[in-house]
């Protein structure tokens, strides 16, 4: 087959005196060969995912899914909101079948923006507790993560801190740290406060925490825990699986840090600890809707559930079924039964409250 690009008279024949020209020609050849390859790629069974989850464990699960079903998994990874913007821009030509994100707020935003469609199966309904999926089946969770307080064992007695509200008390002045308010997990936590107590009270909580901070917010969840272990502050707000990250880290120093810390599941006497999910929803114009549903079934099934708890230290949908020793060692806890759908509705109000409170 002749290659149209290579024959382009881009470089007049006479001038091919310099060694760079053959090089250019080779490059052109390669480029056009690549283009042809892209066109002739076979159109077997496939499913395309737009995902915010960058976990390598996910990739392994997708490979397993392909091995079991023969359905090829294409992935595109970016920040959730960038993906939503992209799906919107692509409209009915969007190749994405499944939108996956690590936060319920983004799922609801996607739903509100009209880029998802209801899709479910009996199997999904059986595998996912009702509180962890959308009542109209626009999305479903496949892992659960709790936003907890981690404190330094040597400076804080067990039971000295029991709730998110405790962090605003005067005795915690200069002893608290947290990451930036632009972090989605903080925003969902805040949205849950707004849902329960209203904007004003939630704002006062954020301001109270900010006034008690030992330093301006900076760094990741992992950095907060390292700072607490080092003595910069006595407590911080983090997601549970980051603790798993330290325990399972390749860096020995992280194990020593984990040794110094303990987890407090807040508000056990009250409404329970704030939880969030990783989940997915089938895109409105999904070309392979059935495959997307199959993948959701796969991700919510027992096998994938145990892979998640072993690798990313996230909680499975049914926490009692956790197989990971680490998760078991943290013990059972009471989760906030607040309907997750409500959280998404207050997302913007949460960002506003943080801004007003000066939580950077």
């Amino acid at each position: 087959m002749t290659n149209p690009l290579a024959q382009m008279p881009l470089i007049p024949h006479k001038s091919r005196t310099h060694p760079i020209f053959p090089l250019m020609r080779t490059i052109l050849n390669k480029a056009s060969a690549f283009l042809l390859l892209c066109f002739t790629a076979n159109a077997a069974e496939e499913v395309t995912i737009y995902s915010y989850r960058h976990y390598e464990a996910d990739q392994k699960l997708y490979e397993q899914f392909t091995a079991e079903t023969g359905i090829k998994v294409n992935t595109l990874k970016a920040k959730a909101d960038a993906l939503i913007a992209r799906i919107k821009a692509e409209g009915d030509k969007c190749p994405a079948d499944l939108f996956i994100t690590a936060d319920v707020g983004s799922l609801i935003k996607a739903q509100d923006d009209g880029i998802l469609q209801p899709a479910t199966s009996e199997l999904i309904k059986k595998q996912v507790p009702e509180s962890l999926r959308d009542s109209e089946d626009f999305w479903t969770a496949f892992t659960v993560r709790a936003r907890v307080i981690v404190y330094a064992k040597d400076r804080v007695k067990a039971g000295e801190i029991t709730s998110y509200e405790d962090l605003t008390k005067p005795e915690w002045k200069g002893r608290v740290i947290a990451r930036s308010s632009s972090n989605i997990y903080n925003q969902s936590l805040m949205a849950s406060f707004i849902a329960k107590h209203g904007e004003q009270k939630a704002y006062l909580w954020a301001r109270g925490v900010r006034m008690n901070m030992a330093r301006e917010p900076e760094g990741s969840d992992r950095d907060q825990m390292r700072a607490v272990a080092a003595g910069i502050a006595d407590a911080c707000i983090v997601n549970t699986y980051y603790m798993g990250l330290l325990v399972n880290s390749a860096d020995e120093k992280d194990h020593a840090i984990a040794e110094k810390l303990a987890i407090c599941f807040p508000n056990q006497d009250g409404v329970g600890t704030h939880i969030n999910i990783s989940g997915g929803g089938v895109c409105k114009y999904a070309p392979n809707k059935e495959n997307a549903v199959k993948l959701l079934e796969f991700l919510t099934a027992a096998n994938a559930q145990s892979v998640f708890s072993e690798t990313t230290s996230e909680y499975p949908l049914v926490r009692e079924n956790a197989t990971s020793e680490l998760l078991k060692s943290w013990g059972p806890f009471k989760a906030d039964p607040l309907k997750l759908e409500v959280i998404g509705k207050h997302r913007k109000a949460a960002a506003k409250a943080f801004l007003k409170a000066g939580w950077k």
């Binding site: 737009y50 960038a82 821009a89 409209g91 990250l245």
Partner: protein, 558 residues
Amino acid sequence: MRHFTHKTFNKLRSLPWVLSVLVIAILAASPLFFIYKEVQQPTQEMWGFLAEEIENPDSPTGENDPSPLQNYVTGSLLMLAGVTVLTLIIGVGCAWLVSAFRFRGRALLSVLLCLPMAIPTYVMAVMYNELLMTSKYSLFIWVRENYSPAAAADFSIYWKFTLAILVLSFSFYPYVFIAARMAFKSQSAAYLESSRVLGHGLGSTFLKISLPLARPGIIAGLTLTLLETMNEFGAMKILGIETLTTGIFSAWLDFDELNSAVRISAIMMVLIFIILLFERLLRGRRKYHTHRSSASDFHGLAPRKLTTAFIWTVCLGVSFVTFILPVAKLVQQAALALPDRDLQPYLDLVLSSSWLAVRACFVIIIAAILLAYTVRIIPKWWIHLSAKISLLGYAIPGAILGVVLLSVKGSLHHSADDLAQWIFHSTVTGLIIAYAIRFLAVGYNPIEAGFKKINPHLDEASGSLGKSRLTTLFRIHLPLLRHSFLAAIVVLFVDVMKELPLTLILGPSNNDTLATKTYGLFAAEERIPEGSIPALILVVTSLLGLLIISTLLNKKRS
């Protein structure tokens, strides 16, 4: 009548060149138009809050804290000021040392001083964060115990700003270094010798002769540095600095208000125009020609032993903190995760990322040649202006560029779906166009500088021999420009390899690059040792690119 037809013919002859420049300019200017249009819209809800001061019940004077917008602007300005001072000191200082003296190992030091370019700024930030974490904690606790908790909180603010300025300067000083080195190198020895003969010492020759002569080059390098600083997102996020760029992202992603994000980017564009205006003013209208050919290039003095030792200490010191130390940390971290990792997927990533970068370089270089050559053959003010506009992509915030291109993509899907499918889904064409808009300035500047060095008489001679402009370009200019090509390709290759926001927003599916892989592990998973592996491979690949091209350059010279 004859005169008229000749003129028409001339115009027709210019048409393809003019058209191509206009197309590039329009493509590059579309984000600006988008910003202009958005700013005309009514403000959204959060914009008011962004401009509102924040209550601070703890403040002793009862004053409020500055508004978020004020914080963004202050953050950006502090970064710009700090980076200007540091990159000028490091970049120009080192360039002068390796240019003014001729000593053993000068070539080696010159190369070493360029290497930090191979380290993405966010990787540099993570490594410095890891390196200095323990010292930061100990100092924080020391300040808290000896002064007060409030002083410790202030300390952490000073610390993070200092660290951020250092990290950015370490990453970006090579731009200034390379520009200054080129400028010093091409200075005529006659000037410097005259100055010495007239009784000026080395120091005052530097201040009075070399520095003023090198000013246009240095300012151009500094401008690139400042634009990079303005646009930096990853490192700022990691180090906890709020700047206009982080503000754009929060407005867009956290508040879900594109309009507010665009407004912030409009503020940023104003700052950028001020920077560009300063560049014009500082470069001045003066032209710096040398009268004789390069035979009289300044090759440097032979230094005394003590001076040589001093130069080595300074340059190695700079290279140590800006390159060796962060890479050593990277190696140490990668080694932790290496034992239980399969390296095959990374090798595939190396191939696909480099191949993507090579293709992008190719497109950008062609566009840059087209632009620079048209400016040369049709020296009209509006061609100049179009060329300048084409280069603005470098100044436009990456996120905004991404958003604009997404909307272009959307409308394309409606009007020409097959084309859109091909550009954005089956291939990386869309991504390459995005890179081209973003990095055109990087490729253009060295090529334009190369064109300027070619005597216009050559064009006239070729023209009067009856050769067309295209033939002249291929037979006269391109062979003479090969050094400029290579210089442009080096920087472009490395820049594209490191690029993150556009790759994430616009790439087709299954398009992992070393940069996105590193990002995923560093930022999303917070697994530093695992992320260090693709980061290290990225650095090594960029280094290999740099080395291959610099050896090619040296070979060509000899």
